[in-house]
């Protein structure tokens, strides 16, 4: 191989080929950057619940564009215009990016009925830069104001809004539920207020959009309050059995309740040695 590359003919063909001599070095640099960035993202484990919306500065847009082109463009196109493998992101707004990337759904792990949650691949700063870039491509929902995310609204109103608008897919206790063709509404336990809000205004996957005419920002704040209250209070009656309702309860009584009782009947009728 070394003999081959050192020959003048080979050198000539490389110079006249479609790759520039710097391509190899650049590729290695990008690879290292990407690996290092991913590693940093994983090790950092951004537990930052409240994304501080990045300032829409030219540098952030530039950085976001670079990240986008390195990580998202394969499916969404170099200018977020979409491709046969992924939809256009022009006009989806910063909120979409913060939700999809911030919950680990994007970059998508694999094609399936819907994108699955997984460990987040970027730092919050990178997510913000991506969000600013995608937000700059066209008008769309922006990252919600922190005043709607404090989970300090009217829980009673929120619970009622949740039952009317959300429970048919997400279950009354937010435990999630099945949709058609392998799709599902995920569990809402442990989802950050920002992501809940963003999901409502952007309608990810099969979720409908709940715009501000439909549920006011205060109403969304109330819904978040109700969900967080439920999480905080936990289950007043003891272990919640996954909040799955009568199916979990029925399985429990047959397996553990009746199981224990049958074991005790065996014990009580056992002959003493």
């Amino acid at each position: 191989m070394s003999r081959k590359t050192s020959s003048p003919a080979a050198g000539k063909s490389r110079r006249t080929g479609r790759r520039s001599p710097a391509a190899a070095a650049a590729l290695i640099a990008v690879g290292l950057l990407f690996t290092g960035g991913a590693y940093a993202a994983v090790s950092a484990t951004t537990a930052n619940a409240q994304p501080a919306p990045a300032a829409v500065s030219q540098s952030n847009v530039e950085e976001g564009k670079k990240l986008f082109q390195a990580n998202c463009a394969t499916c969404h196109g170099l200018n977020a215009q979409g491709s046969p493998d992924g939809p256009s992101l022009i006009g989806v707004g910063a909120a979409s990016v913060d939700f999809q990337v911030g919950t680990g759904r994007m970059p998508m792990q694999g094609h399936g009925p819907q994108a699955q949650k997984k460990p987040v691949q970027f730092t919050q700063d990178q997510i913000n830069q991506l969000a600013v870039y995608v937000g700059s491509t066209g008008p769309g929902p922006s990252i919600p104001d922190a005043k709607y995310l404090d989970a300090d609204g009217d829980a009673a109103n929120g619970a009622e809004l949740f039952r009317i608008n959300c429970a048919m897919c997400h279950n009354v206790a937010g435990a999630g539920g099945a949709l058609t063709e392998g799709k599902f509404a995920p569990s809402l336990v442990g989802v950050t207020p920002a992501h809940i809000y963003e999901a409502m205004i952007t309608g990810p996957q099969n979720m409908p959009v709940f715009n501000d005419m439909n549920i006011s920002p205060e109403g969304k704040r109330d819904i978040i309050t109700a969900l967080k209250y439920q999480e905080k209070v936990g289950n007043p009656g003891g272990i919640g059995l996954g909040s799955l309702g009568p199916v979990a309860e029925g399985l429990f009584i047959w397996i553990f309740g009746l199981g224990a009782v049958v074991a005790l009947t065996v014990w009580i009728t056992a002959k003493s040695n």
Binding site: P113, A155, A156, G158, A159, E160, R163, I164, A167, M168, C169, H170, N171, V172, A173, A175, G176, G177, A178, L179, T180, E181, G182, F184, A185, A226, Y229, Q230, N235, P236, G237, G238, I239, G240, L241, S243, L244, G245, P246, V247, E249, G250, L251, F252, I253, W254, F256, G257, L258, A260, V261, V262, L264, T265, V266, I268, T269, K271
Partner: protein, 539 residues
Amino acid sequence: MSTAPAAVAAPAKSSGGFTGKAANYLDERTSISGAVKEFGRKIFPDHWSFLLGEVALYSFVVILLSGTFLTFFFDAAMTHTTYEGSYAPMNGVHMSAAMASTLDISFDIRGGLLMRQVHHWAALLFVASIGLHMLRVFFTGAFRKPREINWVIGFVLFILAMAEGFTGYSLPDDLLSGNGLRIIDGMIKSFPLVGTWISFLLFGGEFPGEDIVGRLYSLHIMILPAMVILFIALHLVFLIVHKHTQYPGPGRTEQNVVGFPILPVYAAKAGGFFFIVFGVIMATATFFQINPIWNYGPYDPSPVSAGTQPDWYIGFADGMLRLAPPHLEFVWLDRTWSFGILLPVIILGLFIVTVLIYPFIEAWVTGDKREHHLLDRPRNAPTRTAIGAAGVTFYAVMWAAASSDLIATHFRVTMEGVIHTLQALLFLGPVIAYFVTKRICLGLQKKDREIALHGYETGRIVRLPGGEYIEVHEQVSDYERWELVSYKDQAPIMLRPNAQGKITGSMRLRAAMSRWFFEDRIAPVTQTELDKSHGDDHH
């Protein structure tokens, strides 16, 4: 120990002490000793599976106790009110008095939440233990003559228990139970002509109305419990009259009952067992939440939550509805006839009636008019065991269908896939279960026969002086052999002309059914075979 006045009062029983005197006092005024003597010497055989009915009885006692507590605080009215209790996410929410009082029981009455959970868990255990008890009775053939009527009484108790459960969990007027009532309303309305009228009668107008909780409450705490108690009493009277069945074994015959007397052994055991069951229920209710109505919220006809299921014992009905295929409507006589709900309801009705009258069907098919106090080992009645397995499979498929959405999310499959698979299994499952079970039973019978005749293989190879190698078989003891050989052989009915010298169609049907029931069978080992096999112990 005896004091002077006692010696004067009852000189013949001077050593009785206080208990003796109290008993004597009672007996002289009530003549109860005759009854105590009769019942106290009643013998009950000891086997764990005979305690399952007792579990049901004790759960019912727990239900009565905890339910009484709940009636003190529950307000069975649908008057509109605004909740102002200590559960913040419901504060200021409009709801019915029933829902508000249930929330009060849960959050503002000392011990109320525990009692609610005790009541609900005990109800689940009540129906579950009845189910398991029925399976025991079915698979051991304990429903045969003279106990057919007691099977019917027990099955009515099962239905009553389901009705108690349904009326009970509908009382809080929460979202989940309201959805359940809506389904019942739909099932009632599915009946042509009369359905709508019955629904209006039940709900006092258009669903949901403002009457249903009060009406269900009357049923739940008066009519249904009274009927349950009545049927339990009948069930137990028949248990005493028939005497308890027992598993076959040495010394056990159709004429005797081998076991312990009620007094003192069984009364002590059963009394202790009551507290054990009570304890299991209390422990479950303490640590595990059930029916969190504060999550569900008040009933409102518009929202339906994902994962809405009934309690487990109504699950089979919900599952059957889910399995019904679409497009079962047609227009006839200028009216729409919809079978999307009616067809599943009819199938459920047929299933329930079949289980109810099974003892009579089997008695007719087998032509068996003997009394049976010795139980069948399930393998010794292969066809019945196979029928039972098919029935259990049918029920289980319906049951699984009720949780089709949870199966889809938890096993990451599509909901359509789950439903279509279960639709196929509803028909194929029982058939497969029937044949597999029957073959397993026959195989076990063959094994029993082999062991009775030749004993166990020991794996010890011995070389005889003549050079022949044999494996030593160890004979089973006489006690063990008894259990293997002591069942009755039953042959298909011979088709013979009746008194008029005719063979009617029903006789032919019965003969065919009987042939199906008994055709494949392994005859029990006879004495002659045993004697012969003992001649050549090794082979």
